[in-house]
């Protein structure tokens, strides 16, 4: 199969859906050519679809996310881009109080086919206001769906689905993933929300990882394989709906689990996964459930300090190793 980047996969998804359905349109800051958005996902789309449908906005997150809500409930399928997830703070009312709740508050009248694309995570010395991982905020709000793809294949398939769903989706990309490559079929496909993907099978320990940390977990599994430890890596792909069955099945099989993400540990999404496992797979677990997450500090600027706070394969491997060998 051909290999393309995560960026290209996302762009293909946008292009295909815009070609398929003329109510799909994009809004966001600096998304039109020649700039083509901060991480170049939308580059090349405005020449094809025009600047009406690849609609550049002033720096007004509340305004344009709200415009997305209003357009979504009146027949359009907007895909809005918040340049950094940190800037979602400017639009939380429209996301959490409006988009998420309009259907419920109206007793099921409203459909809100809105996709909010954004990206998060550390790794580029972007410091405290450009490198957060705030997915837990969105997963906490009933009414939102939350996707966090880790591969080009998942990114394309999930984004196409997100655009077709009639519920609002917060679609979270990762700045370091854009250049990663992976197989993506030429043929059209979509991926369902709520199906975790077992990225690697194993028998000694389950690692539940999201977004960037999936790649790190796979590397950790390579390292540990050489030491005779077999790791299963499960990627939920969507945080809500969450495929807890697949996670639980894996945990029941391996009897040990490490949950990892780039967000800070305290009240991160990992806590929810742990809590669900602690309830549903209690009898099957042999050792304390582990979290390998960022320490609860803002993202620092200097590269070596940032690296210190980031999740890498060694941190995951180390924890799994100690768990499997009974040190924890």
């Amino acid at each position: 199969m051909r290999e393309i980047t995560y960026r290209e996969a996302l762009r293909e998804a946008l292009r295909e859906e815009m070609e398929r359905d003329e109510t799909v349109f994009l809004m966001g800051e600096d998304i039109a050519d020649p700039f083509g958005s901060a991480y170049k996902v939308t580059l090349g789309l405005s020449p094809q679809f025009g600047t009406e449908r690849v609609r550049q906005t002033p720096i007004s997150e509340q305004g344009f996310v709200g415009a997305g809500v209003g357009a979504a409930v009146t027949g359009m399928r907007p895909v809005v881009e918040i340049m950094y997830i940190d800037f979602a703070t400017m639009a939380m009312d429209q996301i959490a109080n409006q988009a998420a709740k309009l259907r419920y508050m109206s007793g099921g009248q409203a459909k809100v086919p809105l996709v909010i694309r954004t990206q998060g995570g550390p790794g580029r010395s972007s410091a405290a206001q450009h490198a957060q991982s705030l997915e837990a905020w969105f997963a906490h709000i009933p009414g939102l769906l939350v996707a966090m793809p880790s591969t080009p294949y998942d990114a394309k398939g999930l984004l196409k689905t997100a655009i077709r769903l009639d519920d609002p989706v917060v679609f979270i990309e990762q700045k370091l993933l854009y250049n990663t490559e992976g197989p993506v079929p030429e043929e059209e496909y979509t991926l369902p929300f709520g199906e975790a993907d077992v990225k690697r099978e194993g028998s000694d320990c389950t690692v539940v990882a999201t977004s960037m940390t999936v790649l790190k977990a796979l590397k950790a599994a390579d390292i540990l394989e050489r030491e005779g430890i077999s790791v299963e890596v499960v990627d939920p792909r969507t945080l809500f709906p969450l495929d807890i069955e697949t996670i639980t099945a894996s945990v029941c099989k391996t009897s040990r689990v490490v949950v990892t993400h780039e967000a800070v540990e305290r009240c991160g999404f990992g806590a929810e996964i742990v809590a669900q496992i602690a309830q549903t797979a209690f009898g099957y677990i042999d050792a304390p459930i582990q979290r390998v997450c960022a320490p609860s500090v803002p993202p620092p600027f200097a590269q070596h300090m940032e690296a210190f706070t980031m999740i890498d394969e060694h941190k995951i491997a180390d924890r799994v190793r100690r768990l499997v060998t009974g040190e924890l």
């Binding site: 109510t23 349109f25 009406e52 609609r55 906005t57 002033p58 007004s60 509340q62 305004g63 344009f64 996310v65 709200g66 415009a67 997305g68 809500v69 209003g70 357009a71 979504a72 409930v73 009146t74 027949g75 359009m76 907007p78 009312d93 429209q94 109080n97 409006q98 309009l102 259907r103 419920y104 508050m105 109206s106 007793g107 099921g108 009248q109 409203a110 459909k111 009933p142 009414g143 769906l145 769903l165 009639d166 519920d167 369902p192 929300f193 709520g194 809500f240 709906p241 969450l242």
Partner: protein, 344 residues
């Protein structure tokens, strides 16, 4: 303006050219319906039959009615926490509104929304809103949608004077002219945002002047005069339908009662209140209609009787409607999933 306006005796004037007797009677009836709907709701609320917040718009009826008289099917409105008048003016049925206030399955929101969230998407009423200024960006999007779908529909965004202090107000105005969307901003300036007088919301502010800095036509009108409101909105709607972009209307009006039922409103000046009460838009239009020969005393009495009947029937409908099973609280979160995330 407040003082003089309050003391002025309103002249009857001459009949408007662009409104038929039928239309004028519709306005009269609609304003009365709003007023009496809220009177009834207040009584039922105070009797403990209705829960939650009840923000009444008594005194302000001319603004939504004058506005919605200039709209047609396919047009959209957004409203606020004080939205009963707006949604009735656009076409909501008081039956289903009462049912909503009573938390019944037959309510517009099946009892999930209540007073602050009444919506009828089939009529373009895309929601009252509990968040001050929350509707402004949404209205912007609805207007954008009117434009992008190549319709000649327009959107009206209702909001209060208090909302003009929120950032979203500015963002919506700014984007609306940039995109030249068919949007009419209708600020119901009732001189208070909760307990705070308008002067404390914005320093010596002339709202139309501010709106004009975004390059849209803007005017301040007497919000106690339904015909004037209609005229201003009709002009704005015409511009919008022709693709000439957004407009801004500040309608000066007054909240006869407290912020919500239960607010003693001791912060309001008694004299100011009485002055404004004299300018009540409903008897005013009544006088005008009689003067112009559009309404006889019998007709007026009949309208009142019909309205009362409608409300009576509405209350009965509400009370006799079933309450949703409590577990219905768990439905309608998503289109495609239940609240656990199981596909449906």
């Amino acid at each position: 303006m407040t003082q003089t306006a309050a003391e002025r005796e309103e002249p009857v004037g001459s009949p408007p050219q662009d409104l038929s007797g039928e239309q004028l009677r519709w306005m009269y009836r609609r304003m009365l319906l709003i007023r009496e709907f809220e009177n009834t709701a207040q009584i039922r609320f105070e009797a403990g039959e209705i829960a939650g917040f009840l923000h009444l718009s008594q005194g302000q009826e001319a603004v939504p009615v004058g506005t919605c008289a200039a709209l047609r099917e396919g047009d959209t409105i957004t409203s606020t926490h004080r939205g009963h008048g707006d949604v009735i003016a656009k076409g909501c049925d008081v039956k289903r509104m009462f049912a909503e206030l009573y938390g019944r399955t037959t309510g517009y929101c099946k009892g999930k929304g209540g007073s602050m969230h009444i919506a009828d998407f089939s009529q373009g009423i895309i929601g009252a809103n509990g968040i001050v200024s929350g509707g402004l960006p949404i209205a912007l999007g609805a207007a954008l949608s009117c434009q992008m779908r190549n319709t000649d529909h327009v959107t009206v965004c209702f909001f209060g004077d208090g909302a003009t202090a929120e950032g979203g107000f500015h963002e919506a105005l700014n984007l609306s002219t940039l995109w030249q969307v068919p949007l009419i901003f209708v600020c119901q300036n009732n001189l208070y945002g909760l307990s705070q007088p308008w002067e404390e919301t914005a320093f010596q502010c002339d709202l139309p002047e501010r709106a004009r800095t975004y390059h849209m036509p803007a005017e301040c009108v007497d919000g106690m005069d339904v015909i004037t409101v209609y005229g201003a909105v009709a002009r704005a709607v015409n511009r919008a339908r022709r693709g000439e972009g957004p407009s801004f209307i500040e309608a000066k009006t007054y909240r006869f009662l407290g912020h919500y039922v239960g607010d003693p409103a001791t912060y309001m000046d008694q004299e100011e209140r009485e002055g404004w009460r004299k300018r009540d838009p409903i008897p005013r239009l009544g006088r005008q209609l009689r003067e112009w020969g559009y309404l006889t005393d019998e007709e007026a009495a009949q309208i009142r009787a019909e309205v009362e009947e409608e409300l009576q029937a509405g209350i009965e409908f509400a009370k006799s409607s079933p309450k949703p099973p409590a577990a219905d609280a768990l439905s309608d979160v998503y289109v495609h999933f239940d609240h656990h995330g199981e596909p449906r």
